[in-house]
């Protein structure tokens, strides 16, 4: 049974904050350490409400990322759809994990998606950068996940989003 959808604004607001955090200027040296906020929020909502936030929502979130970043349309839509698919197929197991185990999953997932994004960017000629230092972003994402998880769960419970 699928409960009636409600409080969509909580989800949208959490995404808006994630987008803001994703584009707030960082100093050059800290660029690589920026957690992938949009991916994390997306993973959370897919895990918490798999019947509401799925591949389609992930695709939309990806398109908005593309527009915001000014990158080629479809790059992030492509990789976010894959992210949502993997999360959907794992969510029942990952929900039972302890928070550091979840962090490990996040590390793998975000790292995978970032690598895929990088590959597509290289193929389409969006970047010619060498080196895999951007994967530090996956590390910091895994690091902030436990706190973000608690925060979003608190938010979801207090506004009874289901």
């Amino acid at each position: 049974m699928i409960p009636k959808a409600n409080a969509i604004w909580v989800i949208l607001l959490s995404f808006l904050v994630a987008y803001l955090l994703a584009i707030v200027p960082f100093p050059e040296w800290a660029m690589h350490y920026r957690p992938q906020w949009v991916m994390l929020v997306l993973i959370y909502w897919v895990m918490a409400l798999p019947y509401r936030v799925g591949i389609g929502s992930a695709w939309m979130a990806g398109i908005f990322t593309d527009i915001l970043e000014g990158s080629m349309l479809g790059i992030h839509a492509f990789t976010f759809a894959i992210l949502a698919y993997i999360t959907l197929s794992l969510h029942q197991r990952v929900r039972l994990f302890s928070s550091w185990q979840q962090s490990g999953i996040i590390l793998a997932l975000v790292g995978l998606v970032m690598t895929a994004t990088y590959w597509i960017k290289v193929i389409t000629g969006e970047t010619a950068q060498e080196g895999m230092f951007f994967l530090l972003g996956a590390l910091s994402s895994a690091f902030v996940w436990p706190w973000l998880f608690l925060l979003l769960r608190q938010l979801r419970r207090s506004f009874d989003v289901h």
Partner: protein, 324 residues
């Protein structure tokens, strides 16, 4: 199983978007209109920076202000004196060019802008500025800061524009060595440290550490003779066909907020002093005779006027050090 179908459907949709965006131009219009949605997000994200600037402005002691004011006055004085020399040089230059019947390629009008965001993609070096199509920004315009060339406008949105920096791994800047006119291309570094690499320079080329690279104007994108970078290291590897030369951009890529966009203008005259119009944010060329009183260079009174030759710049700086 429907999950896999949906995944394939959305991936196909994303791929077709990618294909359309890379092959055709009509998605640019979509992007342009959607920017009305994203501009507020960037405006929101810029609030912390504006707040910190505001706090700096409000909580500043009078002593600091006075000190800064004195410093700026002095800088203006010396800048004005150099401008004076420049006016002479410019007229001389244009006379010489007339003799040679060469076209005058130096552009004079600029528009000020502020950097409001930096691309969060570590693979590209781009910045967002607060001027867009509404302010008359066009694609390909060159961007400068007070020290040198920064980049070119890559994508124009209604109120903002993306600027590709010269340190981006996809960007190549046609440059020449100021000392001897040796031409080459400075490409954005592909490694992790931001910088420039000179491409395809033979081992025998006369380039040494510390050389100033200026834009050569080839490629017709960047105005000629703007300072771009300084050569920092040269490695001659016998196993490599070309020398590996690195350069450091002179523009303050990750520190500056205030930048200038060069307005392409074919009729611009070479070199007369410019004046800033605060209402339109455009710096205009003005004939030397029309300069307002405040701009009359007082520096000339306090200093002996040296002969207008290229060495005058360094001489002026030495005198400046002496006075301070």
């Amino acid at each position: 199983m429907s999950l896999e179908y949906r995944l394939v459907a959305f991936l196909a949709l994303a791929m077709s978007l990618l294909y359309m965006d890379s092959r055709y131009e009509y998605l640019d219009r979509v992007r342009y209109s959607v920017a009305y949605l994203t501009t507020p997000v960037y405006w929101l994200a810029d609030i912390p920076t504006r707040m910190s600037f505001w706090i700096d402005d409000v909580f500043v002691s009078q002593r600091d202000l006075l000190e800064e004011n004195t410093q700026l006055r002095q800088q203006l004085l010396f800048a004005q004196r150099e401008l004076q020399l420049l006016a002479g040089l410019a007229s001389e230059n244009s006379r010489l060019r007339e003799l040679q019947e060469a076209s005058q390629a130096v552009q004079g009008r600029v528009m000020t802008a502020e950097i409001i965001n930096v691309s969060n993609d570590p693979g590209s070096r781009r910045v967002l500025i607060n001027r867009g199509a509404q302010n008359g920004v066009i694609e390909g315009q060159a961007m400068l800061d007070a020290h040198g060339l920064m980049g070119q406008v890559e994508e124009v949105l209604p109120f903002t524009s993306w600027v590709l920096l010269i340190t981006d791994s996809r960007h190549g800047t046609p440059v020449q060595v100021n000392r001897n006119g040796e031409r080459t291309i400075a490409r954005g570094s592909r490694g992790d440290a931001p910088g420039l690499e000179l491409e395809f320079v033979p081992d025998t080329a006369d380039i040494s550490v510390g050389d100033l690279l200026v834009s050569s104007g080839l490629g017709q994108r960047f105005p000629k003779d703007y300072p771009v970078a300084e050569v920092t290291s040269i490695i001659h590897d016998p196993g490599q066909p070309f020398a590996q030369i690195r350069a450091r951009p002179l523009a303050q890529m990750d520190r500056t907020r205030h930048v200038m966009l060069v307005i392409p203008d074919d009729e611009a005259i070479v070199g007369p002093p410019m004046i800033f119009d605060a209402t339109t944010d455009v710096v205009e060329n003005v004939p030397v005779t029309n300069l307002p009183e405040d701009f009359s260079p007082a520096a000339a009174e306090s200093q002996p006027a040296p002969a207008p030759n290229p060495a005058a710049g360094s001489a002026a700086q030495e005198t400046a050090g002496g006075i301070q």
